[in-house]
Amino acid sequence: MKFDYDVIIIGGGHAGCEAAAAAARYGANSLLITHKKSTIGEMSCNPAFGGLGKSHLVREVDALDGVIGIASDEAAIQYRVLNQRKGPAVRAPRVQADRKIYKKAMQRILSQYKNLTVLENECIGLLIDEGACCGVQTLNSDEIYAKAVVITTGTFLNGLIHIGKKTYPAGRVGDKPSLHLSDVFQKFGFQLGRLKTGTPPRLDGRTIDWATLEEQQPDQEPIYMSYLTDCIQQEQISCFITRTNDKTHNIIMSNLDNAPLYSGQIESTGPRYCPSIEDKVVRFGERNGHQIFLEPEGLDSHTVYPNGISTSIDEKIQEIMVRSIKGLENVKIERPGYAIEYDYIDPRELKLTLETKKIRNLFLAGQINGTTGYEEASAQGLIAGVNAAINCVGNQEFILDRSDAYIGVMIDDLVTKGVTEPYRMFTSRAEYRLSLRIDNADQRLTQKGIDLGIVKKNREASFNAKLSEIHDAMNLVTNLTITPNRAKQYGLKINQDGKKRSVLDLISYPNINLTDLYPIWPELSRIDKSVSAQIESNAIYSKYLERQRLEIVSFKKDESLVIPVDIDFNDVKGLSNEARDRVSKMKPATVGQLSRMEGIDPSTVLKILSYIKAHRKISEMSA
């Protein structure tokens, strides 16, 4: 067979962009197919990146030389660190991003990849040969052949928009849905489900009475999304806060028959952490209003995103409702809010590489796998894209596990447990949270990326420079010591036990920071901020990091017990029918994954384990 490309990526959203870039960095000759070139890198929902859990994903993608971090820094018009007063493991940067600048940045970055082509077309079918995907069918009936295909169609699969009693098929407002692909998946027996998500109305900022509203200013000292960024690139602006009131709530309560979520028009599940304003009022209506963040969508745009009032209630009522809110009394709605229902593929259909188990060389990433959020999509895009490229040359697959990265936590959750609502990352999902921090994503992942060959020279150089800085700084903080008596003279409260303390010892006290020690040792102030942040974090959490390290050792042990892909679970004696069904369907990759599956008890794990061990012994004997 003659291939036109190595990897084809369908969709130009956040998953698609990252997948295309990753495949190209790995060296694959790649083709990105999108409905509209101009919507590549579109932020379909809120104009922001990062936040808790999500900024962890961005940093990890960035550590592997992905594109989301650099593009969001380029478009950042407000930097804010969440949880500033909590510890470093749960601090998280968040940026408001200029929608147009982001899109432009993403399109420019992708255009710099020499081995990446962009094609404006619609994919209406997959070319399958002997259980393997070998290309796509496009609308004008061209067949394009490739060694692997990554599908990242977001909410476009059978997308159906609801506004009040009105419904119509769409991928997002202004874009056609992908109707054909759903049929393709159904034909191949994929388990499909249906989810719902929503977006608020967009407001004309010129009609908002800003003077009456609470202002939220940007941080003075920003924390960037990418390790490579070293300065602010756009003018920084404020967001503003207002809130709903009794009047707003009454309008919603008396119009629930015009709300598709409550009239029975929408039956699929939406995310609990991002409810519509209808949901909030029905469930928590007694509250003294719900806050709304008014987020400008860009520097030269008047559009404002009112974060907190996602709605699909009737268009006219949206206007009455919004105008009941302080500061929005005369507001003009540019575009109404809406809910969208869409098909997703049960992610338990996927391997940890995001390749489907049913069709070889076919990968899925992003919202199609039941997730939500730009960052979640982007992280999956990277894993799918790089593994699609790896598949073309038959190298060792690239998998991050739960102890490596949030990316690993997310993908393991998805493919092992499936989803019941759109999946979003939270830091509470990561059992090794104190080890997986935004300050050390590069230490955790960049070397892996270099070994894999997906990290470009400039990042490799800056990473190595930081490594040697950390090395030098570590020497410094372990070698500089002080007696308790002298420390007392500097006002440091430590036990007067006569034992000398190193700088590292001192900063592990909760009330001593590295900056507190500058008067004693001025040379400490020469340590770069990103380096000192990492050293301080390691010192603060040292006790817990050691505990987690031990847990990770045993976790890795179970993860390293690979279940052979060709195992026939019918040959394993003594499994219950239910357990046999579950494992046959799911085909877990490792004993660790097997033991995390729902409805699998220890005896099932052991029976499978001893079956594998028996087989290995037999094959060793025959060899």
């Binding site: 808790l52 859990g53 969440l82 949880n83 909590k86 510890g87 493991a89 749960v90 609990r272 952490y273 991002c274 409810p275 949901d279 909030k280 469930r283 928590f284 509250r287 719900h290 806050q291 963040f293 974060n307 907190g308 996602s310 939270f426 830091t427 509470s428 999902r429 059992e431 949270r433 104190l434 909760p510 009330n511 603060i540 959490y541 817990y544 505990r547 031990l550 847990e551 050792v553 045993s554 042990k557 179970d558 003594g574 033991s595 699998i600 008890d601 220890p602 005896s603 794990v605 052991l606 029976k607 384990l609 001893s610 061990k613 028996a614 012994k617």
Partner: protein, 439 residues
């Protein structure tokens, strides 16, 4: 649910539960050699046996004389470093050693089958041996945990469930303050969670210190012989003392009531005490004796209520002790009654064996209501660990919330070894139910 913690060092009683002459405690894992430091003994060379005095790490008290064997990795049953302590089988000694081991951070009471499982994973067992292992694990792990938990005395399982519910809620609320920082969650919430945690901690502390529960096994099952004067109480006590089930104490300096008999019935320690006869007192001195008898009966685990079968008089068991008493008719050799359920003669040695059998059933029932010995040790280990993590939170005001959560997660996971697994989804369910999330 299923997780090898091979970084953990595990320990357990390997000999039979209950009272025995010698008990063997097995320790396996990366820190097994720490036993040496912990009890201030020198470990022998691998596979050599050595006698040593175990010393309490905190107060320096002498614990027991023990035989120590050290198996060096990989030449041990599990393939890891292993230490075996052969100690005297007293309950108090075992409990003390277990509590010392439980206090070590990386030590855990072994899950059932865990030694075998480690042996299997380290390639120390052949396939034939493995065949039976799956069934063994099936019977002993999650299923058994659940069954043991379900069968646990109602009060106890309710208490553990209550603590777990409370801690999971505290954990959810604290997680909410981390992950949903922009959601108008009141900052006071964190403080009130810590308050709740302190309450659980003090309850847990009291529970662990409550000697009632362990006492029955540790100090013996208490039986009181009671009844009207001259029904043969002392004769029965003397008779039981002289049988070969009586224990002769070898512990020096033990003060003991001359009216006690120490017996070993079905492997459990039993203490039988005689009391003054119960009747309407004629003198003040006698009245004191009767009151004392009544108090003892209330505290007893079992009362043998003796009645004279040679005279036609049914005294009837006092109402307040009816459910823990057995009617025993004495003097069967001169009985004027027939067809009594339990009737004995100490003079003729009639019915005594049957009586001991019946007592044995009560003792077993009485000692087993709290679960078997091993299960209880696992529970104690889990509760001790829970307590240690909660204490870290309670005694340190400066901890960052994510560190508090880390300790609290560990506490909940320890408690979950008794009460069942807790998932992130359980936390999210609580968060989304109780807070309006959705910026």
């Amino acid at each position: 649910m299923y997780n090898t913690i091979n970084s953990k060092t595990i320990y357990a009683l390997s000999s039979a539960p209950g009272k025995s002459g010698i008990a063997v405690i097995r320790v396996s894992g990366p820190e097994a050699k720490k036993i040496g430091n912990l009890f201030n003994i020198d470990l022998p060379d691998p596979k050599k046996v050595q006698i040593a005095k175990l010393v309490h790490p905190h107060n320096g008290d002498f614990i027991d004389k023990a035989l120590i064997t050290f198996f060096k990795s990989p030449n041990s049953f599990t393939g890891e470093n292993m230490v075996e302590l052969s100690i005297h089988g007293g309950k108090a000694i075992k409990d003390l050693i277990f509590s010392i081991l439980a206090a070590e951070e990386n030590f855990s009471y072994a899950e059932p089958g865990e030694f075998t499982r480690r042996a299997f994973l380290n390639g120390k067992l052949d396939l034939v041996e493995v065949e039976g292992l799956a069934d063994l694990i099936n019977a002993e792990t999650e299923f058994q945990r659940k069954q043991a938990f379900d069968q646990m005395e109602g009060k106890l399982s309710n208490l553990y469930t209550k603590w777990k519910g409370q801690l999971v809620k505290n954990l959810s609320y604290l997680e909410a303050t981390i992950d949903f920082v922009e959601e108008e969650i009141s900052p006071e919430i964190a403080g009130s969670q810590i308050k709740d945690i302190r309450v659980v901690l003090s309850e847990l502390d009291a529970h662990l210190n409550d000697s009632n529960k362990g006492e029955r096994l540790r100090d013996g099952f208490h039986i009181i012989i009671a009844g009207s004067p001259n029904t043969g109480k002392s004769s029965l006590l003397n008779h039981l003392s002289n049988r070969d089930i009586a224990i002769v104490s070898d512990e020096a300096g033990t003060t003991r009531d001359s009216l006690d008999a120490y017996l070993d019935i079905n492997g459990f320690p039993v203490i039988i005490t005689d009391t003054a006869g119960i009747r309407k007192a004629k003198t003040e001195v006698e009245n004191i004796g009767v009151k004392k008898s009544q108090t003892k009966m209330k505290e007893a685990d079992l009362v043998l209520w003796l009645m004279d079968s040679s005279i036609n008089k049914n005294d009837g068991i006092p109402h307040n002790i009816k459910d823990k008493s057995i009617e025993v008719w004495t003097k069967s050799d001169i009985s004027i009654h027939e067809n009594k359920d339990i009737i004995i003669s100490t003079k003729k040695d009639q019915g005594i064996t049957q009586l001991i059998d019946i007592i044995g059933k009560f003792v077993e029932k009485g000692c087993r209501t709290e679960g078997s010995f091993i299960t209880r040790s696992r529970h104690r280990d889990a509760l001790e660990k829970t307590k240690n993590h909660l204490s870290m939170i309670a005694k340190n005001d400066l901890l960052d919330v994510e560190v508090i959560v880390e300790e609290l997660r560990s506490a909940v996971n320890s408690l979950a070894r008794i009460t069942g697994h807790v998932d992130v989804e359980d936390l999210l369910d609580i968060i989304f139910k109780d807070f309006c999330i959705g910026k």
